[in-house]
Protein backbone atom coordinates (compact mmCIF):
# COMPACT_ATOMS: atom_id res chain seq x y z
CA UNK A 1 0.00 0.00 0.00
CA UNK A 2 2.86 2.32 0.74
CA UNK A 3 4.18 2.18 -2.79
CA UNK A 4 0.75 2.58 -4.32
CA UNK A 5 -0.10 5.58 -2.22
CA UNK A 6 3.29 7.21 -2.65
CA UNK A 7 3.11 6.95 -6.41
CA UNK A 8 0.62 9.74 -6.56
CA UNK A 9 2.55 12.15 -4.36
CA UNK A 10 4.78 15.05 -5.38
CA UNK A 11 8.50 14.07 -5.57
CA UNK A 12 9.42 16.64 -2.92
CA UNK A 13 7.64 14.61 -0.32
CA UNK A 14 9.43 11.39 -1.09
CA UNK A 15 12.34 11.92 1.27
CA UNK A 16 10.13 12.85 4.20
CA UNK A 17 7.80 10.00 3.39
CA UNK A 18 10.67 7.56 3.35
CA UNK A 19 11.83 8.87 6.72
CA UNK A 20 8.31 8.69 8.07
CA UNK A 21 7.94 5.14 6.81
CA UNK A 22 11.25 4.14 8.34
CA UNK A 23 10.22 5.64 11.67
CA UNK A 24 6.88 3.93 11.52
CA UNK A 25 8.53 0.63 10.64
CA UNK A 26 10.02 0.34 14.10
CA UNK A 27 6.94 1.49 16.00
CA UNK A 28 3.91 -0.66 16.70
CA UNK A 29 0.85 0.57 14.87
CA UNK A 30 -1.99 0.38 17.34
CA UNK A 31 -4.71 0.80 14.74
CA UNK A 32 -3.36 -2.01 12.60
CA UNK A 33 -3.27 -4.29 15.64
CA UNK A 34 -6.88 -3.43 16.41
CA UNK A 35 -7.81 -4.09 12.79
CA UNK A 36 -6.18 -7.50 13.07
CA UNK A 37 -8.16 -8.22 16.22
CA UNK A 38 -11.32 -7.32 14.31
CA UNK A 39 -10.20 -9.58 11.45
CA UNK A 40 -9.68 -12.39 13.95
CA UNK A 41 -13.21 -12.00 15.29
CA UNK A 42 -14.62 -12.05 11.74
CA UNK A 43 -12.65 -15.22 11.03
CA UNK A 44 -13.98 -16.78 14.23
CA UNK A 45 -17.52 -15.84 13.24
CA UNK A 46 -17.01 -17.35 9.79
CA UNK A 47 -15.72 -20.63 11.18
CA UNK A 48 -18.62 -20.79 13.63
CA UNK A 49 -20.97 -20.27 10.72
CA UNK A 50 -19.66 -23.52 9.20
CA UNK A 51 -20.78 -25.53 12.25
CA UNK A 52 -23.26 -28.37 11.78
CA UNK A 53 -25.93 -26.43 13.68
CA UNK A 54 -25.94 -23.65 11.08
CA UNK A 55 -26.76 -26.06 8.26
CA UNK A 56 -29.79 -27.40 10.10
CA UNK A 57 -33.33 -26.06 10.42
CA UNK A 58 -32.36 -24.61 13.80
CA UNK A 59 -30.59 -21.77 11.99
CA UNK A 60 -33.61 -20.48 10.12
CA UNK A 61 -35.70 -20.93 13.26
CA UNK A 62 -33.18 -18.80 15.13
CA UNK A 63 -33.44 -16.08 12.46
CA UNK A 64 -37.23 -16.26 12.42
CA UNK A 65 -37.39 -15.87 16.20
CA UNK A 66 -35.84 -12.40 15.97
CA UNK A 67 -38.96 -11.15 14.17
CA UNK A 68 -41.05 -11.55 17.30
CA UNK A 69 -41.86 -8.26 19.00
CA UNK A 70 -40.50 -6.14 16.17
CA UNK A 71 -42.70 -3.74 14.16
CA UNK A 72 -44.20 -5.26 11.04
CA UNK A 73 -41.96 -3.27 8.71
CA UNK A 74 -38.91 -4.78 10.42
CA UNK A 75 -40.33 -8.24 11.04
CA UNK A 76 -41.58 -8.99 7.52
CA UNK A 77 -38.15 -9.01 5.84
CA UNK A 78 -36.82 -11.16 8.69
CA UNK A 79 -39.57 -13.70 8.18
CA UNK A 80 -38.91 -13.68 4.43
CA UNK A 81 -35.20 -14.23 5.10
CA UNK A 82 -35.89 -17.10 7.51
CA UNK A 83 -38.16 -18.74 4.95
CA UNK A 84 -35.56 -18.36 2.23
CA UNK A 85 -32.89 -19.93 4.45
CA UNK A 86 -35.23 -22.81 5.31
CA UNK A 87 -35.56 -23.60 1.59
CA UNK A 88 -31.83 -23.45 0.82
CA UNK A 89 -30.03 -23.98 4.14
CA UNK A 90 -26.78 -25.43 2.79
CA UNK A 91 -26.36 -23.04 -0.11
CA UNK A 92 -27.21 -19.86 1.78
CA UNK A 93 -25.32 -20.74 4.93
CA UNK A 94 -22.26 -21.63 2.87
CA UNK A 95 -22.52 -18.23 1.16
CA UNK A 96 -22.97 -16.43 4.50
CA UNK A 97 -19.99 -18.18 6.04
CA UNK A 98 -17.80 -17.57 3.01
CA UNK A 99 -18.65 -13.87 2.92
CA UNK A 100 -17.60 -13.58 6.55
CA UNK A 101 -14.46 -15.60 5.85
CA UNK A 102 -13.52 -13.25 3.01
CA UNK A 103 -14.16 -10.20 5.20
CA UNK A 104 -11.82 -11.57 7.87
CA UNK A 105 -9.13 -12.46 5.37
CA UNK A 106 -9.59 -9.13 3.59
CA UNK A 107 -9.05 -7.10 6.74
CA UNK A 108 -5.98 -9.16 7.60
CA UNK A 109 -4.45 -8.58 4.16
CA UNK A 110 -3.15 -5.04 3.88
CA UNK A 111 -3.95 -4.37 0.22
CA UNK A 112 -7.62 -5.24 0.74
CA UNK A 113 -8.23 -3.73 4.16
CA UNK A 114 -10.38 -0.84 2.90
CA UNK A 115 -12.50 -3.02 0.66
CA UNK A 116 -13.03 -5.55 3.43
CA UNK A 117 -13.88 -2.93 6.05
CA UNK A 118 -16.39 -1.33 3.70
CA UNK A 119 -17.90 -4.73 2.92
CA UNK A 120 -18.04 -5.52 6.63
CA UNK A 121 -20.13 -2.40 7.28
CA UNK A 122 -22.64 -3.36 4.57
CA UNK A 123 -22.75 -6.99 5.67
CA UNK A 124 -23.06 -6.11 9.36
CA UNK A 125 -25.99 -3.78 8.71
CA UNK A 126 -27.74 -6.46 6.65
CA UNK A 127 -27.19 -9.10 9.34
CA UNK A 128 -28.26 -6.65 12.05
CA UNK A 129 -31.64 -6.36 10.39
CA UNK A 130 -32.20 -9.73 8.73
CA UNK A 131 -30.38 -11.90 11.27
CA UNK A 132 -30.64 -10.12 14.57
CA UNK A 133 -33.90 -8.17 14.29
CA UNK A 134 -32.07 -4.86 14.81
CA UNK A 135 -30.63 -6.30 18.01
CA UNK A 136 -34.18 -6.34 19.40
CA UNK A 137 -33.79 -2.67 20.30
CA UNK A 138 -37.34 -1.97 19.13
CA UNK A 139 -38.73 -4.64 21.42
CA UNK A 140 -38.93 -4.68 25.19
CA UNK A 141 -36.45 -7.55 25.50
CA UNK A 142 -33.22 -5.72 24.63
CA UNK A 143 -30.69 -5.83 27.44
CA UNK A 144 -26.99 -5.03 27.63
CA UNK A 145 -26.55 -8.33 29.42
CA UNK A 146 -27.81 -10.41 26.48
CA UNK A 147 -26.07 -8.53 23.70
CA UNK A 148 -28.10 -5.41 22.90
CA UNK A 149 -27.91 -3.39 20.70
CA UNK A 150 -26.80 -6.40 18.67
CA UNK A 151 -23.21 -7.54 18.46
CA UNK A 152 -23.08 -7.20 14.71
CA UNK A 153 -23.72 -3.46 14.72
CA UNK A 154 -20.56 -3.06 16.79
CA UNK A 155 -18.62 -4.73 13.95
CA UNK A 156 -19.84 -1.95 11.66
CA UNK A 157 -18.96 0.71 14.22
CA UNK A 158 -15.46 -0.73 14.65
CA UNK A 159 -14.95 -0.85 10.88
CA UNK A 160 -15.74 2.86 10.65
CA UNK A 161 -13.59 3.84 13.62
CA UNK A 162 -10.66 1.74 12.40
CA UNK A 163 -10.89 2.98 8.82
CA UNK A 164 -7.32 3.45 7.54
CA UNK A 165 -7.34 7.21 7.09
CA UNK A 166 -6.43 10.22 9.18
CA UNK A 167 -8.33 13.47 9.34
CA UNK A 168 -6.15 16.24 7.98
CA UNK A 169 -4.44 18.53 10.44
CA UNK A 170 -6.22 17.17 13.49
CA UNK A 171 -4.75 15.67 16.59
CA UNK A 172 -6.18 12.29 17.51
CA UNK A 173 -6.23 11.70 21.26
CA UNK A 174 -7.16 8.06 20.71
CA UNK A 175 -7.17 5.60 17.82
CA UNK A 176 -10.92 5.78 17.19
CA UNK A 177 -10.61 9.50 16.50
CA UNK A 178 -8.11 9.13 13.67
CA UNK A 179 -10.62 8.43 10.92
CA UNK A 180 -13.73 10.31 12.03
CA UNK A 181 -12.33 12.91 14.42
CA UNK A 182 -12.60 13.07 18.20
CA UNK A 183 -16.02 14.78 18.45
CA UNK A 184 -17.75 12.23 16.23
CA UNK A 185 -15.95 9.30 17.85
CA UNK A 186 -16.89 10.49 21.33
CA UNK A 187 -20.49 11.05 20.27
CA UNK A 188 -20.72 7.50 18.89
CA UNK A 189 -19.32 6.11 22.14
CA UNK A 190 -21.75 8.21 24.18
CA UNK A 191 -24.76 7.09 22.17
CA UNK A 192 -23.80 3.43 22.37
CA UNK A 193 -23.19 3.28 26.12
CA UNK A 194 -26.11 5.54 27.04
CA UNK A 195 -28.36 3.31 24.98
CA UNK A 196 -27.05 0.33 26.94
CA UNK A 197 -27.85 2.18 30.18
CA UNK A 198 -31.34 2.86 28.86
CA UNK A 199 -31.86 -0.79 27.97
CA UNK A 200 -30.69 -1.84 31.44
CA UNK A 201 -33.53 0.19 32.96
CA UNK A 202 -36.32 -1.12 30.74
CA UNK A 203 -39.21 -2.51 32.80
CA UNK A 204 -38.57 -6.02 31.57
CA UNK A 205 -34.97 -5.87 32.73
CA UNK A 206 -35.47 -4.29 36.13
CA UNK A 207 -38.11 -6.77 37.30
CA UNK A 208 -37.02 -8.64 40.46
CA UNK A 209 -36.21 -11.91 38.70
CA UNK A 210 -35.37 -10.57 35.25
CA UNK A 211 -31.58 -10.67 35.51
CA UNK A 212 -31.68 -13.94 37.41
CA UNK A 213 -33.76 -15.59 34.68
CA UNK A 214 -31.61 -14.15 31.93
CA UNK A 215 -28.37 -15.50 33.42
CA UNK A 216 -29.89 -18.81 34.49
CA UNK A 217 -31.16 -19.40 30.95
CA UNK A 218 -27.57 -19.41 29.67
CA UNK A 219 -26.76 -22.53 31.65
CA UNK A 220 -28.39 -24.94 29.22
CA UNK A 221 -25.92 -26.98 27.19
CA UNK A 222 -22.84 -25.39 28.71
CA UNK A 223 -19.94 -27.37 30.21
CA UNK A 224 -20.31 -28.15 33.92
CA UNK A 225 -17.92 -25.50 35.19
CA UNK A 226 -19.54 -22.73 33.15
CA UNK A 227 -23.04 -23.88 34.09
CA UNK A 228 -21.98 -23.74 37.75
CA UNK A 229 -20.66 -20.20 37.22
CA UNK A 230 -23.95 -19.18 35.63
CA UNK A 231 -25.92 -20.72 38.49
CA UNK A 232 -23.80 -18.90 41.04
CA UNK A 233 -24.15 -15.57 39.26
CA UNK A 234 -27.89 -16.06 38.83
CA UNK A 235 -28.34 -16.79 42.53
CA UNK A 236 -26.39 -13.62 43.40
CA UNK A 237 -28.91 -11.44 41.60
CA UNK A 238 -32.01 -13.41 42.56
CA UNK A 239 -34.82 -10.97 43.46
CA UNK A 240 -32.30 -8.13 43.02
CA UNK A 241 -33.34 -7.12 39.52
CA UNK A 242 -34.03 -3.48 40.28
CA UNK A 243 -30.88 -2.89 42.31
CA UNK A 244 -28.70 -4.73 39.80
CA UNK A 245 -30.20 -2.78 36.90
CA UNK A 246 -29.60 0.55 38.63
CA UNK A 247 -25.99 -0.33 39.48
CA UNK A 248 -25.39 -1.51 35.92
CA UNK A 249 -27.00 1.61 34.45
CA UNK A 250 -24.88 3.90 36.64
CA UNK A 251 -21.72 2.06 35.56
CA UNK A 252 -22.76 2.35 31.90
CA UNK A 253 -23.43 6.09 32.22
CA UNK A 254 -20.02 6.61 33.83
CA UNK A 255 -18.46 4.69 30.96
CA UNK A 256 -20.44 6.73 28.43
CA UNK A 257 -19.19 10.10 29.66
CA UNK A 258 -15.69 8.81 30.44
CA UNK A 259 -14.30 9.62 27.00
CA UNK A 260 -14.96 13.33 27.65
CA UNK A 261 -12.74 13.28 30.74
CA UNK A 262 -8.99 13.98 30.86
CA UNK A 263 -6.70 11.08 29.97
CA UNK A 264 -6.20 9.62 33.44
CA UNK A 265 -9.86 9.35 34.50
CA UNK A 266 -10.76 8.41 30.94
CA UNK A 267 -8.44 5.41 31.23
CA UNK A 268 -10.16 4.45 34.49
CA UNK A 269 -13.58 4.49 32.84
CA UNK A 270 -12.24 2.48 29.91
CA UNK A 271 -10.92 -0.13 32.35
CA UNK A 272 -14.41 -0.15 33.87
CA UNK A 273 -15.85 -0.65 30.38
CA UNK A 274 -13.52 -3.59 29.75
CA UNK A 275 -14.42 -5.17 33.10
CA UNK A 276 -18.16 -4.70 32.54
CA UNK A 277 -17.87 -6.13 29.01
CA UNK A 278 -15.90 -9.13 30.31
CA UNK A 279 -18.45 -9.79 33.05
CA UNK A 280 -21.29 -9.54 30.53
CA UNK A 281 -19.46 -11.88 28.16
CA UNK A 282 -18.86 -14.57 30.76
CA UNK A 283 -22.05 -14.41 32.86
CA UNK A 284 -24.63 -12.83 30.57
CA UNK A 285 -23.55 -14.26 27.25
CA UNK A 286 -21.70 -17.44 28.29
CA UNK A 287 -18.95 -16.76 25.73
CA UNK A 288 -21.59 -16.35 23.04
CA UNK A 289 -22.78 -19.94 23.78
CA UNK A 290 -19.94 -21.12 21.58
CA UNK A 291 -19.25 -24.02 23.95
CA UNK A 292 -22.73 -25.42 23.31
CA UNK A 293 -21.87 -25.92 19.63
CA UNK A 294 -24.66 -23.56 18.61
CA UNK A 295 -23.10 -20.11 18.92
CA UNK A 296 -23.06 -18.01 15.76
CA UNK A 297 -20.63 -15.45 17.13
CA UNK A 298 -18.86 -14.52 20.36
CA UNK A 299 -21.62 -11.95 21.04
CA UNK A 300 -20.98 -8.37 22.18
CA UNK A 301 -18.50 -8.86 25.02
CA UNK A 302 -15.24 -9.09 23.04
CA UNK A 303 -16.41 -6.37 20.66
CA UNK A 304 -17.09 -3.95 23.50
CA UNK A 305 -13.61 -4.70 24.85
CA UNK A 306 -12.09 -4.08 21.43
CA UNK A 307 -14.12 -0.89 21.12
CA UNK A 308 -12.85 0.32 24.50
CA UNK A 309 -9.29 -0.27 23.35
CA UNK A 310 -9.85 1.96 20.31
CA UNK A 311 -10.66 4.81 22.73
CA UNK A 312 -7.60 4.25 24.90
CA UNK A 313 -5.79 7.61 25.16
CA UNK A 314 -2.49 7.69 23.36
CA UNK A 315 0.57 9.18 25.04
CA UNK A 316 1.45 11.51 22.18
CA UNK A 317 -1.37 12.79 20.03
CA UNK A 318 -1.37 11.43 16.51
CA UNK A 319 -1.11 14.26 14.06
CA UNK A 320 -1.84 14.01 10.36
CA UNK A 321 -0.45 16.87 8.24
CA UNK A 322 -3.07 18.08 5.81
CA UNK A 323 -1.27 17.26 2.60
CA UNK A 324 -0.05 13.84 3.68
CA UNK A 325 -3.26 12.47 5.06
CA UNK A 326 -3.68 9.72 2.51
CA UNK A 327 -0.04 8.80 2.40
CA UNK A 328 0.59 8.71 6.11
CA UNK A 329 -2.47 6.55 6.57
CA UNK A 330 -1.24 4.17 3.93
CA UNK A 331 2.21 4.02 5.43
CA UNK A 332 0.71 3.37 8.79
CA UNK A 333 -1.40 0.51 7.52
CA UNK A 334 1.50 -0.90 5.60
CA UNK A 335 3.77 -0.89 8.58
CA UNK A 336 4.40 -4.14 10.32
CA UNK A 337 3.30 -4.31 13.90
CA UNK A 338 6.61 -5.22 15.38
Amino acid sequence: MTEIAAAGVRPGWRASLAARAETARGAPDVRRRLQLALAGIWLLVALLQYQSFMFSSAFNQMIGATAAGNPRVVASPITWDATLVSHHPVLLNSIFATIQLLIGIGIACRPTVRLALAASVAWALAVWWFGEGLGMVLTSSASPVNGAPGAVIIYALLAILLWPADRAGRQAPFTAARAVGAPVARALWLVLWLSLAYFALLPGNRAPQALNSMIASMESGEPGWLAALERGAASLVAHQGLAASIVLAIALVIIAVGVYLPARPARATLVLAIVVAAVIWVFGEAFGTILTGGGTDPNSGPLLILLALTYWPVRAAITAPASTTQVSASISEGTPAS
Partner: protein, 256 residues
Protein backbone atom coordinates in the same frame (compact mmCIF):
# COMPACT_ATOMS: atom_id res chain seq x y z
CA UNK B 1 -24.26 -31.70 9.71
CA UNK B 2 -21.49 -29.70 8.06
CA UNK B 3 -21.71 -30.74 4.38
CA UNK B 4 -19.17 -33.37 3.44
CA UNK B 5 -18.10 -31.40 0.38
CA UNK B 6 -16.74 -28.66 2.64
CA UNK B 7 -14.76 -31.23 4.59
CA UNK B 8 -13.54 -32.79 1.34
CA UNK B 9 -12.34 -29.44 0.02
CA UNK B 10 -10.42 -28.83 3.23
CA UNK B 11 -8.98 -32.36 3.05
CA UNK B 12 -7.70 -31.62 -0.44
CA UNK B 13 -6.15 -28.37 0.76
CA UNK B 14 -4.43 -30.25 3.57
CA UNK B 15 -3.07 -32.81 1.13
CA UNK B 16 -1.75 -29.96 -1.03
CA UNK B 17 -0.04 -28.51 2.05
CA UNK B 18 1.44 -31.92 2.82
CA UNK B 19 2.62 -32.29 -0.77
CA UNK B 20 4.18 -28.82 -0.75
CA UNK B 21 5.99 -29.61 2.50
CA UNK B 22 7.24 -32.90 1.07
CA UNK B 23 8.44 -31.07 -2.03
CA UNK B 24 10.25 -28.49 0.11
CA UNK B 25 12.01 -31.27 1.98
CA UNK B 26 12.90 -33.06 -1.25
CA UNK B 27 14.34 -29.92 -2.85
CA UNK B 28 16.19 -28.63 0.22
CA UNK B 29 17.55 -32.10 1.09
CA UNK B 30 18.09 -31.32 4.75
CA UNK B 31 19.34 -34.86 5.39
CA UNK B 32 22.47 -33.96 3.42
CA UNK B 33 23.25 -31.06 5.74
CA UNK B 34 24.61 -33.11 8.62
CA UNK B 35 23.60 -31.78 12.01
CA UNK B 36 21.49 -29.02 10.50
CA UNK B 37 19.01 -31.57 9.25
CA UNK B 38 16.92 -31.13 12.39
CA UNK B 39 16.02 -27.62 11.21
CA UNK B 40 13.62 -29.15 8.70
CA UNK B 41 11.25 -29.77 11.59
CA UNK B 42 8.65 -27.25 10.49
CA UNK B 43 8.21 -28.83 7.07
CA UNK B 44 8.16 -32.30 8.61
CA UNK B 45 5.45 -31.16 11.02
CA UNK B 46 3.45 -29.60 8.17
CA UNK B 47 3.74 -32.83 6.21
CA UNK B 48 2.52 -34.95 9.12
CA UNK B 49 -0.24 -32.54 10.12
CA UNK B 50 -1.47 -32.27 6.54
CA UNK B 51 -1.82 -36.04 6.25
CA UNK B 52 -3.37 -36.42 9.69
CA UNK B 53 -5.89 -33.63 9.16
CA UNK B 54 -6.87 -34.90 5.73
CA UNK B 55 -7.54 -38.27 7.33
CA UNK B 56 -9.62 -36.63 10.02
CA UNK B 57 -11.65 -34.63 7.53
CA UNK B 58 -12.66 -37.36 5.13
CA UNK B 59 -13.74 -40.90 5.81
CA UNK B 60 -12.37 -42.13 2.49
CA UNK B 61 -8.78 -41.54 3.56
CA UNK B 62 -7.48 -44.02 6.11
CA UNK B 63 -4.22 -43.06 7.76
CA UNK B 64 -2.71 -44.12 11.09
CA UNK B 65 -4.69 -45.13 14.19
CA UNK B 66 -5.48 -42.33 16.63
CA UNK B 67 -3.01 -43.57 19.22
CA UNK B 68 -0.18 -43.52 16.71
CA UNK B 69 -0.99 -39.97 15.68
CA UNK B 70 -1.22 -38.97 19.33
CA UNK B 71 2.31 -40.25 19.89
CA UNK B 72 3.56 -38.43 16.79
CA UNK B 73 2.08 -35.12 17.89
CA UNK B 74 3.19 -35.61 21.48
CA UNK B 75 6.74 -35.87 20.18
CA UNK B 76 6.28 -32.78 17.96
CA UNK B 77 4.74 -30.85 20.86
CA UNK B 78 7.68 -31.73 23.08
CA UNK B 79 10.11 -30.79 20.32
CA UNK B 80 8.58 -27.38 19.61
CA UNK B 81 8.12 -26.81 23.34
CA UNK B 82 11.86 -27.28 23.69
CA UNK B 83 12.39 -24.86 20.80
CA UNK B 84 10.16 -22.22 22.35
CA UNK B 85 11.89 -22.54 25.73
CA UNK B 86 15.21 -22.16 23.97
CA UNK B 87 13.95 -19.07 22.13
CA UNK B 88 12.55 -17.63 25.33
CA UNK B 89 15.85 -18.08 27.13
CA UNK B 90 17.68 -16.34 24.31
CA UNK B 91 15.17 -13.63 23.41
CA UNK B 92 12.88 -13.28 26.41
CA UNK B 93 9.16 -13.79 26.63
CA UNK B 94 8.64 -12.15 23.25
CA UNK B 95 9.53 -15.53 21.82
CA UNK B 96 6.20 -16.81 23.08
CA UNK B 97 4.28 -14.37 20.92
CA UNK B 98 6.66 -13.20 18.22
CA UNK B 99 8.81 -16.22 17.49
CA UNK B 100 8.12 -18.75 14.80
CA UNK B 101 8.34 -21.80 17.03
CA UNK B 102 5.37 -20.76 19.17
CA UNK B 103 2.79 -21.17 16.37
CA UNK B 104 4.22 -24.58 15.53
CA UNK B 105 3.99 -25.53 19.19
CA UNK B 106 0.34 -24.48 19.26
CA UNK B 107 -0.35 -26.39 16.02
CA UNK B 108 1.26 -29.56 17.37
CA UNK B 109 -0.44 -29.23 20.77
CA UNK B 110 -3.82 -28.65 19.13
CA UNK B 111 -3.37 -31.79 17.03
CA UNK B 112 -2.39 -33.76 20.11
CA UNK B 113 -5.44 -32.43 21.93
CA UNK B 114 -7.75 -33.39 19.07
CA UNK B 115 -6.50 -36.97 18.98
CA UNK B 116 -6.54 -37.37 22.77
CA UNK B 117 -9.85 -35.61 23.47
CA UNK B 118 -11.82 -36.94 20.51
CA UNK B 119 -15.00 -38.84 21.33
CA UNK B 120 -16.45 -40.75 18.42
CA UNK B 121 -20.19 -40.74 17.83
CA UNK B 122 -21.98 -43.83 19.09
CA UNK B 123 -22.32 -45.44 15.67
CA UNK B 124 -18.58 -45.09 15.11
CA UNK B 125 -17.35 -46.00 18.54
CA UNK B 126 -14.69 -48.29 17.13
CA UNK B 127 -14.03 -46.33 13.99
CA UNK B 128 -11.36 -43.98 15.27
CA UNK B 129 -11.31 -40.38 14.13
CA UNK B 130 -11.26 -40.91 10.43
CA UNK B 131 -13.97 -38.91 8.74
CA UNK B 132 -15.43 -36.09 10.78
CA UNK B 133 -18.56 -36.20 8.64
CA UNK B 134 -19.18 -39.51 10.36
CA UNK B 135 -21.80 -40.82 7.97
CA UNK B 136 -24.97 -41.83 9.73
CA UNK B 137 -23.36 -41.73 13.14
CA UNK B 138 -23.05 -37.96 13.30
CA UNK B 139 -19.96 -35.97 14.09
CA UNK B 140 -17.53 -36.66 16.88
CA UNK B 141 -16.97 -34.21 19.70
CA UNK B 142 -14.06 -33.10 21.84
CA UNK B 143 -13.83 -33.42 25.60
CA UNK B 144 -12.89 -30.30 27.61
CA UNK B 145 -14.48 -28.11 24.96
CA UNK B 146 -13.16 -24.88 26.46
CA UNK B 147 -9.67 -26.04 25.52
CA UNK B 148 -10.85 -26.43 21.92
CA UNK B 149 -12.13 -22.86 22.02
CA UNK B 150 -8.84 -21.55 23.42
CA UNK B 151 -6.81 -23.45 20.81
CA UNK B 152 -9.11 -22.14 18.07
CA UNK B 153 -8.60 -18.55 19.24
CA UNK B 154 -4.82 -18.99 19.30
CA UNK B 155 -4.78 -20.58 15.86
CA UNK B 156 -6.98 -17.83 14.44
CA UNK B 157 -4.72 -15.23 16.00
CA UNK B 158 -1.59 -16.69 14.46
CA UNK B 159 -3.29 -17.14 11.07
CA UNK B 160 -4.39 -13.50 11.04
CA UNK B 161 -0.93 -12.39 12.05
CA UNK B 162 0.61 -14.50 9.28
CA UNK B 163 -1.80 -13.03 6.73
CA UNK B 164 -0.87 -9.52 7.80
CA UNK B 165 2.83 -10.25 7.60
CA UNK B 166 2.47 -12.09 4.29
CA UNK B 167 0.70 -9.13 2.70
CA UNK B 168 2.94 -6.45 4.17
CA UNK B 169 6.05 -4.77 2.82
CA UNK B 170 9.05 -7.05 3.15
CA UNK B 171 6.71 -9.87 4.13
CA UNK B 172 8.58 -12.55 6.02
CA UNK B 173 11.52 -10.29 6.76
CA UNK B 174 9.48 -8.61 9.47
CA UNK B 175 9.33 -11.73 11.56
CA UNK B 176 12.03 -11.54 14.12
CA UNK B 177 12.68 -11.67 17.80
CA UNK B 178 15.77 -9.57 17.37
CA UNK B 179 16.04 -8.25 13.86
CA UNK B 180 19.27 -8.96 12.08
CA UNK B 181 20.48 -11.46 14.62
CA UNK B 182 18.14 -14.31 13.94
CA UNK B 183 18.86 -17.11 11.57
CA UNK B 184 15.80 -18.56 9.90
CA UNK B 185 15.82 -22.33 9.88
CA UNK B 186 15.79 -22.83 6.15
CA UNK B 187 18.63 -20.33 5.79
CA UNK B 188 20.70 -22.49 8.06
CA UNK B 189 19.67 -25.57 6.14
CA UNK B 190 20.53 -24.02 2.83
CA UNK B 191 23.68 -22.24 3.91
CA UNK B 192 26.04 -25.16 3.41
CA UNK B 193 24.85 -25.65 -0.14
CA UNK B 194 26.44 -22.34 -0.99
CA UNK B 195 25.00 -19.06 -2.14
CA UNK B 196 23.51 -19.05 -5.55
CA UNK B 197 22.51 -22.68 -5.59
CA UNK B 198 19.38 -22.85 -7.66
CA UNK B 199 16.27 -23.01 -5.58
CA UNK B 200 18.13 -23.18 -2.31
CA UNK B 201 17.81 -20.39 0.24
CA UNK B 202 20.87 -18.26 0.80
CA UNK B 203 21.86 -16.46 3.98
CA UNK B 204 20.57 -12.94 4.30
CA UNK B 205 21.85 -12.23 7.76
CA UNK B 206 25.48 -11.68 8.53
CA UNK B 207 25.55 -14.27 11.24
CA UNK B 208 23.23 -16.75 9.64
CA UNK B 209 24.80 -20.09 9.23
CA UNK B 210 27.74 -19.31 11.41
CA UNK B 211 28.39 -21.62 14.35
CA UNK B 212 27.94 -18.71 16.72
CA UNK B 213 24.40 -18.23 15.55
CA UNK B 214 23.37 -21.46 17.17
CA UNK B 215 24.94 -20.87 20.56
CA UNK B 216 25.68 -17.30 21.49
CA UNK B 217 22.93 -15.52 19.62
CA UNK B 218 19.19 -15.93 19.71
CA UNK B 219 18.02 -18.16 16.92
CA UNK B 220 14.43 -18.14 15.74
CA UNK B 221 14.90 -21.64 14.48
CA UNK B 222 11.42 -22.10 13.05
CA UNK B 223 11.41 -18.93 10.92
CA UNK B 224 10.92 -19.45 7.19
CA UNK B 225 13.73 -18.45 4.89
CA UNK B 226 13.76 -14.85 3.76
CA UNK B 227 14.69 -15.89 0.25
CA UNK B 228 14.21 -18.87 -1.98
CA UNK B 229 12.47 -19.73 -5.20
CA UNK B 230 9.82 -22.10 -6.35
CA UNK B 231 8.56 -24.38 -3.64
CA UNK B 232 11.21 -23.01 -1.26
CA UNK B 233 9.80 -19.48 -1.49
CA UNK B 234 8.97 -18.15 1.97
CA UNK B 235 5.34 -17.51 1.08
CA UNK B 236 4.83 -21.23 0.48
CA UNK B 237 5.69 -22.08 4.09
CA UNK B 238 3.67 -19.20 5.48
CA UNK B 239 0.65 -19.92 3.30
CA UNK B 240 0.81 -23.55 4.38
CA UNK B 241 0.80 -22.47 7.99
CA UNK B 242 -2.15 -20.13 7.46
CA UNK B 243 -4.17 -22.83 5.69
CA UNK B 244 -3.30 -25.34 8.37
CA UNK B 245 -4.06 -23.02 11.26
CA UNK B 246 -7.42 -21.91 9.88
CA UNK B 247 -8.45 -25.47 9.02
CA UNK B 248 -7.42 -26.69 12.45
CA UNK B 249 -9.43 -23.90 14.11
CA UNK B 250 -12.41 -24.90 11.96
CA UNK B 251 -12.07 -28.54 13.01
CA UNK B 252 -11.83 -27.62 16.68
CA UNK B 253 -14.90 -25.41 16.52
CA UNK B 254 -17.13 -27.85 14.68
CA UNK B 255 -16.22 -30.61 17.13
CA UNK B 256 -17.14 -28.58 20.24
Amino acid sequence: MTPSWILDILAVIMLVVAAASAARLAVARPWQQGTQAVLADTDVSHLLMGIAMAGMLTASLQTLPNDAWAVVFAVLTAWFGYRVIRDARASGVRALAGGHCAPHLIHAAAMLYMFVAFTAPAAHASGGMSGMAGGTGGMGTLQVSFLAFVFALLLIGYSIWDLDQLSGPGAIGHYSLAAGRLAPAAVLVGATAGPGTAGVPVPVSGSAGSPAATDSQPVDACAPATSGRGVLAPWVATTSRIAMGATMAFMLLIMI
